[in-house]
Symmetry: C2
Subunit: 179 residues, 2 copies
């Protein structure tokens, strides 16, 4: 798999990835009777590991579901000391400068990386380390919440490579970093 | 024409309508050799007047171009005392609560309204007075600038009615307020 750091995320029309209480119900406001995956399975087959922050990791651990990932998850954290024993074959702690972290992950044989979680995506964007972004826009204006994007030192140009509409309501566009 | 308050606007992927210096060059970063209008003419035929704030009005007056609107422009302003003499048959000062302003404009026979300018759009959204939004997403992350959306007291749900891609790079989606 080629080296690429990829984002696959849903936002409100005003760019939030969680509502003001961290809630995600609005993500499921579009009826989905056949449980369509909105491109998730195809996207997952294009990466061989995930990178996320401690917040996202702990949020997923807190959900009342089985561990949802078949691919290794690298948890970026300075504060977390260990991965809970239950997940030590699934998740791995990494820290340090992002380029170092990426080097370590590449050396372990993982090149296509799903970068997930708001803060982690923002850190990668600040260092211009995101190669591909797939954004699904949910047709709601939340008014406040946790934003996908944060301030950046420089503008970043992308190229639109695809746009699809899921469930007749969700616009999903794929962007590749123009270099 | 039916009563409807409509927005037609382009934003960066991170939701800005002008860069940090107010600049708009990034809007023209997608090559447009045949000078395509990206749906503007069709949209303009769906309204019979414009409503904008003083800032947008003065920005347009400041451009080194002929007055670009064939339809009446209502300028929302508390501070502006008069419309410059050169534009008195084209632009009209209005002020007061938005519902009052709308009533006045409707009484003059204008029902389909193009609501333009960041602050004006934000004021209308705060009172849930926007019926239709057409957003064109330019494939660039600006990192900072003037945002299209601001905080809202409540979330607003919309219905996606159309998505088009212009110039192979600009995704344009049309949303109708779900009521």
């Amino acid at each position: 798999m080629d080296k690429a750091n990829k984002v696959f995320i849903a936002t409100s029309l005003d760019g939030f990835i969680a509502d003001k209480n961290g809630g995600l119900d609005w993500l499921y406001s579009v009826p989905n009777p056949n449980n369509e995956d909105n491109g998730y399975v195809e996207f997952m087959s294009s990466v061989d590991a995930l990178v996320m922050g401690r917040n996202t990791f702990e949020t997923i651990l807190g959900f009342d579901i089985d561990w949802p990932y078949e691919k290794p998850v690298f948890v970026l954290s300075r504060s977390l000391k260990t991965i809970p024993e239950s997940h030590r074959e699934k998740a791995f702690l990494v820290n340090g400068p992002l380029t170092e972290v990426l080097k370590q992950i590449h050396e372990r044989g993982h090149y296509g990386l799903y970068i997930d979680g708001g803060s982690t995506i923002q850190s990668f964007l600040k260092e211009d380390l995101i190669d591909e972004i797939i954004i699904s826009r949910i047709p709601v204006i939340l008014g406040r919440g946790f934003p996908l994007f944060d301030e950046l030192p420089n503008k970043l140009e992308f190229e639109l490579t695809q746009t699809k509409v899921f469930l007749n309501q969700i616009t999903q566009s794929r962007y590749i970093r123009k270099k």
